[in-house]
Symmetry: C2
Subunit: 271 residues, 2 copies
């Protein structure tokens, strides 16, 4: 199955566009998992077991594993999801980008070492930096387009030939990068009108949308501007709002409740 097929199937099956971001931070984790031998994995496993029927994807953020020397527990987490909940795609959020021979190693990291269904990549280095990822035709390649942070304006909003840079990324993706029908885009929930302009350029592409929780994006506006023609098309990520919904022993139940709440909010905003 391709990434598009996997997304179509899980959107239909779960009727959910929630993606849970697995961003474990030892400093913020509940006490009850901190003392486990593999605290990152124990935390993630509990979260996944509590939410797997409510989501369309999981998105482990590589930084939390890289910064805390826990790459092994990232691997354990992905393997656990793929073994126990094989319908739920795993997006490795690592935002790689480098020249071709180097990018080939990063593609191997994402798709072989970690066996992710999809990976986030940075478009700054262009087509030959993206190709080693895109060549894995059965995996998804989710290209940064319009990011949710304020600093994104520094470059992404610069206008060239009447279009901001992020729209150029959308056009390049549509016309040049999507030769294997496995590309997708990252578009922050904090800029819903821009999301709408990108949806007009790429009517069917899956969009990974961070920024609805702690970052303040408006779910109703995201749905209004971002929904694909098939009624889905959005992978709406929440990390902190779900995984730290409670800091106590009930953290997994609280995460389940927060996921249901977000799933239902998204459903209620659908036209």
């Amino acid at each position: 199955m391709t990434f598009y097929e996997k997304m179509a199937a899980i959107w239909r099956k779960s009727d959910s566009m929630v993606c849970v971001g697995l961003d474990p931070d030892l400093a913020k984790m509940p006490e009850c998992v901190k003392n486990e031998k593999y605290p990152f994995f124990a935390f993630n496993k509990a979260l996944v077991d509590a939410t797997h029927d409510l989501v369309c994807a999981y998105k482990p953020q590589a930084a939390y594993y890289a910064g805390q020397n826990a790459d092994d527990q990232l691997a354990m987490t992905i393997e656990y999801i793929k073994t126990n909940y094989p319908d739920v795609p795993v997006i490795l959020d690592v935002k790689r980008g480098d020249i071709g021979s180097t990018a080939a190693q990063y593609a191997k990291e994402a798709f072989v070492r970690y066996n992710a269904d999809a990976v986030t990549v940075n478009p700054y280095m262009g087509s030959d930096a993206l190709k080693p990822f895109l060549d894995y035709a059965d995996r998804g390649v989710i290209i940064l387009c319009r990011t949710s942070n304020a600093g994104g304006n520094d470059l992404q909003n610069l206008v060239c030939d009447g279009m901001p840079i992020y729209e150029h990324v959308a056009v390049l993706t549509r016309d040049k990068y999507n030769y294997n029908q496995n590309a997708a885009l990252v578009i922050g929930a904090t800029y819903p009108e821009e999301l709408g302009r990108i949806r007009a350029i790429c009517p069917e592409l899956p969009f990974l949308v961070p920024g609805v929780g702690a970052q303040g994006g408006d779910v109703a506006k995201v749905l209004e501007h971002g929904l694909a023609a098939n009624g889905y098309g959005l992978i709406i990520n929440s990390s902190r709002g779900i995984i730290y919904a409670s800091n106590g022993d009930d953290f997994a139940d609280a995460a389940r409740n927060a996921t249901i709440k977000l799933r239902d909010l998204i459903r209620s905003c659908r036209p």
Copy 2:
């Protein structure tokens, strides 16, 4: 010592602007190191021991470790250099870029977990994505500006307000990102005229220049356009041309000879 001070000291001491890229690929390594318990480390150690007096920096490319599940040997390599050759800065080439809270984890990865002197970062997400790195005032933050690959044209050459995107990156670095005097830029050797335009914007900044070896950049033109006013300012990286100069038992000697050749070529091109 700051990164700028470390670079100034090593340029003077070694009178070399060669940076050796430590990009070990198990498939290409000499047989004599392949069977070591830690082949990546053994390969790197031999290369470093053979070249440490000839270089201004080492640049391990994170992809080769990430793609081959050898993060531990990346850590061993950096620790070995910093223990035995503390004057030689280590640049971790990992091209990170993410929102602030995530970038903080990546900065911790580069500067605490791996204890690198400098790190490469991607500017696509702008100021708040760069800040967690730049806040480490004693470390260098080397921002992708004009990359050496052909695909770089996709976005970097788009013109906004009369300036290509890569020049905007140089101006932003000069005016906004360099508040701790620890920023530098990546500029490919394959575009020497563009290197000259960026040097005019940032007369004193260190430039990391990949692309002189296998990628075909012209050393004489790099020196003509890229030299800083102090006669240095360039960190000219070669990876494949040095580390795979020989595939036999003499690989370290061959690497030493290739490094001397590149160092002397650079010296001879200096006005």
